[in-house]
Symmetry: C2
Subunit: 333 residues, 2 copies
């Protein structure tokens, strides 16, 4: 019998379709064109030696012998214009806001062929600290009302440039999706006096069946109502509304979780295309009692079809508890 499960944080119903269920191993991606990327690509703007092909450089972390380790650059084809004023026009039937904001790219390493999963741990720690610093910096733009840090890995996840990179976008409006989540979180807080995410986290920790990895400061688990196979959350245990508030020590711990999870995807699920996104209050709203930032990681192993588009209900053909068990066992190298 299929189940409908509700995620109280995202407010999404999911059909866990056991009739269509695949065993976890069946999700192994058999990609006929599974070629290894080259270490360097002449046409890639993010490869070492091609720095002149990117837009304005905003930050550079130096590595050994004068080489750089991580670069932050303006997006050459920004979804939102870096210049211009925020202006709102129109009426209730046709609201228009000028498309201004921040759109930058964090080039994760000089190497074209090292996926995020295979960066060494120290490198990943610095990367997460840079995520935080750029998140805060983007929020300082006076036009910014919301900031998203996200990654597209692989063509099926919407990447146009193969070289591993992460993006930061600050929008001049608050996304409706975010507003609705905040409202649900506030409601729960008013009803119970507690943060909804803290309550979910405690439950997941107590039950354990969906937990993949736990350390002192983070819990990585497949949510009870995971939207799609192996959809996973990396959750800070300490209540904190905004990713801006992550400490250096927490960033070090989070790097272990990200490395563990992505390595298990890489080796255990044959390197699927995936997205991740940091869901957070904006940088200057870091102290409220009801929001709780986290990272959501989504391998792209299934397609969104008409039912999902038309209802907002996802169909997940993998049982979250089985997926978690599979990932607990999956090799990391």
């Amino acid at each position: 019998m299929p189940e409908l499960r509700f995620n109280p944080i995202s407010r999404e119903w999911v059909i866990i379709a056991t009739e269509r269920a695949k065993r976890p191993g069946e999700f192994m991606h058999v990609r006929m064109n599974h070629r290894a990327p080259p270490a360097y690509l002449n046409t890639c703007p993010f490869c070492a030696g091609n720095e002149h092909k990117t837009s304005e450089e905003r930050l550079r972390v130096n590595g050994d012998k004068g080489a750089w380790k991580i670069r932050v650059v303006a997006n050459s084809y920004p979804a939102l214009s870096p210049v211009g004023d925020k202006k709102r026009t129109g009426d209730v039937l046709k609201r228009l806001v000028t498309g201004v904001g921040v759109h930058e790219v964090i080039v994760e390493s000089p190497k074209h062929d090292i996926p995020t999963a295979l960066l060494d741990l120290k490198h990943l720690e610095e990367l997460i600290q840079i995520y935080r610093d750029r998140f805060i910096e983007a929020g300082k733009d006076e036009r910014a009302e919301h900031v998203i840090v996200f990654k597209n890995s692989g063509e099926g996840a919407g990447t146009t440039i193969e070289h591993p990179h992460t993006q930061v976008i600050a929008t001049p409006i608050v996304p409706v999706q975010f507003r609705e989540r905040v409202q649900a979180a506030m409601q729960y807080y008013d009803d119970t006096g507690e943060c909804l995410s803290c309550a979910v986290l405690r439950r997941e920790k107590d039950e354990g069946s969906r937990v993949i990895f736990e350390t002192e400061r983070f819990l990585t688990f497949i949510p009870y109502a995971a939207l799609s196979p192996f959809h996973t959350w990396i959750f800070p245990k300490r209540h904190c509304a905004s990713f801006a508030g992550i400490t250096d020590i927490e960033a070090v711990d989070m790097a272990r979780h990200l490395k563990t999870l992505l390595s298990k995807f890489h080796w255990g699920l044959d390197n699927p295309d995936f997205n991740y996104v940091i869901r957070s209050s904006r940088p200057h709203d870091a102290a409220n009692d009801y929001c709780h930032w986290y990272m959501s990681v989504m391998p792209r192993l299934s397609k969104v079809a008409g039912f999902e588009l038309g209802s907002g209900i996802y169909i997940n053909s993998a049982m979250p508890e089985e997926s978690a068990e599979f990932l607990r066992q999956a090799r990391m190298e």
Copy 2:
């Protein structure tokens, strides 16, 4: 300069990213594997002659010489179980509803190789009447709280069976996405005394720049804040909350719109993968003043990536007014 546009009906922000804009003609799908499907496939459960491969037949429309024209069958791999009671368990952190409901398939014709766009007009009229009849029938299931009619065409749109078909799903819960739209529509009605969709429709008709096709009873247009390139709405002019209320005469007129639009996609955009979905109040809530059913048609010409997943904001690289102009001119055969 990009624009952020807001859709008051779906409550979605869209970035119209002119910096990344493609000219409409560039969306022509160059598909290397653009093979013509066979007229009959031995392994296809929906082809004439293979009727024994489907589950229970629920309706059959007869054509010439004892052949069938349209069949309705139970889905052999249903997302929701046809048997079992609706039961709600769990608590606010882990809500669970048994996965019961209706999931059936409307096989659009006996031929494997005739896409919906190329069905003759009379056939399409009957198909839309059957959509309505099955929509009403699904709503009679006492476990049903919401009904969706939708179509996946092509692998990129989530089809697993190539033979043209449409699906009907009745869910035992109300989708949160639908609830949020109803709330926005009610709010507009309370503020203005008018249906929000009727107001949008009047505006689109008056402006005309996004209109593709108009007849006495329907308006086909690209919404002001289209989510993706060539995302189009087929809208009944008469206020009616539920698709259950479409009259036979309206179904005849709607068939002309669907044929026109899909033919323009087929010939003008080189037969892209697409989804369509009928967005509607449930069958037994057909008489309210604020909901207004319509069909949303989405060619799958772009990928959903991390930014969309993380914010609910879409990036559309096509200007709706230019897309509409392109489709007005596109050939239909």
